[in-house]
C-alpha cells in the first residue's frame, strides 16, 4: 500500500475528521428478571446504565472490564442486536434509527462485528465463501461478484481461497475460523468494526497472528475499531484510547498511555495490579481486591465500586460520581474519571469536592 499517499478520503465520510465516527449518549439497558408463578418481574439487571462515549475516526477505542461489566451488552446495543431502553447512537452525524438520521440497516452496512466464539458465529451448513458472500448478496450484490469478492477477502485475511473457500466451519482451526469471521465482517466494507473478545478464545501464538492481521487491515482499509476485551495487555497493545467499565457504568476513560501509566480510579488501579507480573522475582504478594464483582442485579447505590473500595466514604453511597476531567492543571483533560476521591492514595488525604454537574 502506498503509505505516503494515504489520505483517508472516504466518499461516505460526512462530517470530516473532527466529527466522531460514533457518538453514544446515555445508553441504557436494563433486563427484567422474572420469576414466581405469575412470572412477574422480580428484579432488574442493570446491564448498561447511562453509558456515553465517542469513537474518533481512525482510532481504536478499547473497552476493558470484568465479566458482567456491560462491555458486550454495549456492543450488542450498538449493533441493535438488542434494543436499548434509552440513549442515542449517532453514526458520523446521523442518529441511528431516527427519522432524520439513518436506518439500522444502513448503519449495519457501515458497522460490523466479530464475536468471541468463532464456531457458533458461523453457519455450520455454509461454506466459508458462502458465509462471507451472504451479507453482500442480501444487500443486493450479484452472486458472482459477491463470491469473487469473498475469495479476495479470504486471501486478504491470509487464507488461500483455493484451499479454504469450499470448506465448512468444522474443517477449520479456531484461528482460521476467526480469520473467516473477520473477512465476513469486512465484506460490506464497513467503516467501524466491533471486535468483542475476538481473540480471547485463541491460543497465544495464534492470537498474535490475528492481532497483527487486525493491525494491517486497519491501516490498509482505514478502519476504526471498537476493541472489547478482558485482557489488559491486549487492550493496551491495540488501543489508542481506553474506557474502563464496572457493573454497567464507565468508571474511567482516556488515552491509553495516561490510563495505563496513571490510572486514577481505585478500580482501575486494582484491576491493573491484579495482572500477573511475568517476572518470577517480582510476584504479586497482596490481593489488590477481595471478593468477586457484585451481581448487577440491584447494584450498590451511588458509586457501584464502593463496596469493594478501600477509599469509600459516606458520599460515595449517596451520589453517583460523574465522569470528569481532573481539576489540577497538569493532568490530561481528556482523561476522565468517575470517582469522588480520584487521587485517594490514602484514605485521609483526599481532594476537594469534584462531583458537580
Amino acid at each position: 500500500m502506498s503509505a505516503a499517499l494515504q489520505i483517508p478520503l472516504d466518499p461516505r465520510d460526512r462530517g470530516g475528521p473532527a466529527q466522531p465516527l460514533l457518538l453514544v449518549e446515555n445508553l441504557r439497558k436494563h433486563f427484567p428478571v422474572r420469576g414466581g408463578i405469575l412470572n412477574r418481574q422480580t428484579a432488574t439487571v442493570q446491564a448498561v446504565d447511562d453509558v456515553s462515549f465517542s469513537v474518533r475516526k481512525g482510532e481504536t477505542l478499547g473497552i476493558v472490564g470484568e465479566s458482567g461489566c456491560g462491555k458486550s451488552t454495549t456492543a450488542r446495543l450498538l449493533m441493535r442486536l438488542i434494543e436499548p431502553d434509552a440513549g442515542d447512537v449517532i453514526f458520523d452525524g446521523d442518529a441511528v434509527g431516527d427519522r432524520r438520521g439513518i436506518s439500522v440497516n444502513d448503519m449495519r452496512r457501515q458497522m460490523q462485528m466479530v464475536f468471541q466464539d468463532s464456531y457458533t458465529s458461523l453457519n455450520p451448513r455454509m461454506t466459508m465463501v458462502e458465509s462471507i458472500a451472504y451479507a453482500p448478496r442480501m444487500h443486493g450484490t450479484p452472486r458472482r461478484e459477491a463470491i469473487d469478492r469473498a475469495e479476495m477477502l479470504l486471501h486478504r485475511v491470509g487464507l488461500n481461497p483455493r484451499q479454504y473457500a469450499r470448506r465448512y466451519p468444522h474443517e477449520l482451526s479456531g484461528g482460521q475460523r476467526q480469520r473467516v469471521n473477520i473477512a465476513r465482517a469486512l465484506a460490506l466494507e464497513p467503516r467501524l468494526v466491533i471486535l468483542d473478545e475476538a481473540v480471547a478464545a485463541l491460543d497465544k501464538s495464534v492470537e498474535a497472528q490475528v492481532l497483527n492481521l487486525l493491525g494491517e487491515l486497519k491501516e490498509s482499509l482505514n478502519l476504526t475499531y471498537l476493541f472489547i476485551s478482558h485482557d489488559l495487555n491486549v487492550v493496551e497493545y491495540m488501543s489508542d484510547r481506553v474506557m474502563v467499565m464496572y457493573l454497567g457504568r464507565v468508571v474511567e476513560a482516556g488515552p491509553v498511555e495516561s490510563i495505563y501509566r496513571h490510572p486514577r480510579h481505585p478500580y482501575t488501579r486494582a484491576l491493573f495490579a491484579s495482572k500477573p507480573t511475568l517476572d518470577p522475582d517480582r510476584r504479586t504478594t497482596e490481593m489488590p481486591l477481595t471478593g468477586d464483582p457484585p451481581n448487577p442485579i440491584n447494584p450498590p447505590s451511588g458509586c457501584r465500586f464502593r463496596t469493594r473500595c478501600a477509599f469509600a466514604q459516606p458520599r460515595c453511597a449517596e451520589r453517583v460520581p460523574e465522569l470528569l476531567a481532573p481539576v489540577a492543571g497538569d493532568a490530561d483533560a481528556s482523561h476522565v474519571v468517575a470517582c469522588h476521591v480520584p487521587e485517594a492514595q490514602t484514605p485521609k488525604h483526599h481532594t476537594t469536592e469534584v462531583g458537580h454537574a
Binding site: 491460543d203 497465544k204 501464538s205 498474535a208 497483527n212 491484579s274 517476572d279
Partner: protein
C-alpha cells in the same frame, strides 16, 4: 522454591507416560513420553496451548481417562504405580493422596448437594469418621480457603455461589483428605483477573501451610510465572523444555518456548509488530517424524525431521528437546 528439607524423594514420579486414543478410524497420539518428578511442596506448571496434551496428562495421573485410551508408562505416587492399581484401590487414592481441581467448578461440583454435604461425604468415604467430625472438618476447610461466613456457605448449593467462591469451594473439597499431590487443570482460566490473582495467592499460601505438591496446568504464561517453581513447556504431547521459572522466563532455549513468550502480548509492546509462530499446532493423528515443532520452526534443519530428538540437559536441570539447542545458546 523447592523445600530443602525434603529428603525422602519425590512424591510423584512420571516415567515415559504415553496416551493414545485409538478408535476404528483414528489413532491420536495425545501424550508421547512425559517424564518428570515432583517433591513435596513443589509446584510444576505444564504450560501449553490447546491440544498439547497437558490436560490429558493430568487426567492420566488421576486415572480419569476413558476406557479406550491406551496408557503406557509409570505414574509413581508415594512409591505406588497408579497405572497398576485395581479400581477399588484407585478409588481410595483418588481424592485421598491425589486430588484434582478443574477449570469449571460448576461442572465439577454436584449441583444437587450442598458444598458441606459434598465435602463431608468425601471425608467420610475416605477416612470412615463420623458425619459430625466430617462436617466440622468441612467448616475448617472453608475457613482455610477464606470463604467469608463459612458456616452459612456450607449450606449453599454451587449455583448460589459466585465463580470465585465456587473455585474456593472446589479447592476445599480437593484438600479435604490432605492430598500429597494436587492436580490443577486451568483453575483460573475462567475467572476474572481480580479473582484469578486471589486464587493463585490462595494456592501458594495453602501449599506453604500444607506442603502438598502441585501440578498446575495452564496456557497462561502470566499465571505460570506467578505460581510455579518449575515450568514444563509442552508441545504435541512432549515436554519441549523444562526448567526453573526463572530459566524459562529469562533464558528460554527451545524455539517454541521463545516463540510462545515473544507472541505473548504484554505492556510496552505498543507500536511494534508482534512476533508470531507461523502455522498452527500439528494434527496429533498424523505427527511428523522427528521434532513435532520442526514444520513451524525457523531454525529447523534436516536432522530435526528424522528420528528421535535427543534431550539436552545442563547441570542445573534445564532441559530442552532440540537438535540445535547448543548452537542457540550464546557461549
Amino acid at each position: 522454591m523447592p523445600d530443602g528439607s525434603m529428603v525422602q524423594g519425590p512424591v510423584l514420579r512420571v516415567e515415559d507416560l504415553t496416551v493414545r486414543f485409538t478408535r476404528r478410524d483414528t489413532d491420536v497420539a495425545a501424550v508421547n513420553g512425559v517424564n518428570f518428578s515432583l517433591n513435596a511442596g513443589e509446584t510444576l506448571t505444564i504450560l501449553g496451548e490447546s491440544g498439547s496434551g497437558k490436560s490429558v496428562s493430568l487426567k492420566a495421573m488421576m486415572g480419569l481417562l476413558p476406557g479406550y485410551a491406551r496408557i503406557d508408562g509409570r505414574i509413581w505416587l508415594n512409591g505406588r504405580d497408579m497405572l497398576t492399581l485395581p479400581e477399588a484401590e484407585l478409588r481410595k487414592v483418588r481424592g485421598g493422596a491425589i486430588s484434582m481441581i478443574f477449570q469449571e467448578p460448576m461442572a465439577a461440583l454436584d449441583p444437587v448437594y450442598t458444598i458441606g454435604e459434598q465435602i463431608a461425604e468425601t471425608i467420610v468415604q475416605h477416612e470412615g469418621c463420623s458425619k459430625d467430625t466430617a462436617w466440622k472438618r468441612a467448616l475448617g476447610l472453608l475457613e482455610q480457603v477464606k470463604i467469608p461466613s463459612a458456616a452459612r456457605r456450607l449450606k449453599n448449593y454451587p449455583h448460589e455461589m459466585s465463580g470465585g467462591m465456587r473455585q474456593r469451594a472446589m479447592i476445599a473439597l480437593a484438600l479435604a483428605c490432605s492430598p500429597s499431590v494436587l492436580l490443577a487443570d486451568e483453575p483460573t482460566t475462567a475467572l476474572d483477573v481480580t479473582v484469578q490473582i486471589q486464587i493463585l495467592l490462595l494456592l501458594r499460601q495453602l501449599q506453604q501451610e500444607l506442603g502438598m505438591a502441585i501440578v498446575f496446568v495452564t496456557h497462561d504464561v502470566g499465571a505460570a510465572a506467578e505460581i510455579s517453581d518449575r515450568i514444563a513447556v509442552m508441545y504435541a504431547g512432549r515436554f519441549a523444555e523444562t526448567g526453573t521459572t526463572r530459566q524459562i522466563m529469562r533464558q528460554p532455549l527451545h524455539p517454541y518456548t521463545k516463540g510462545l513468550l515473544a507472541s505473548t502480548v504484554h505492556g510496552g509492546m505498543r507500536g511494534t509488530r508482534l512476533e508470531t509462530i507461523p502455522g498452527s499446532p500439528p494434527n496429533l493423528a498424523h505427527l511428523p517424524p522427528g521434532c513435532a515443532f520442526a514444520p513451524r520452526c525457523r531454525y529447523a534443519v534436516d536432522a530435526c525431521r528424522q528420528g528421535d530428538i535427543p534431550v539436552v540437559t545442563d547441570e542445573t536441570g534445564h532441559m530442552a528437546r532440540c537438535v540445535r539447542v547448543e548452537e542457540a545458546v550464546p557461549a
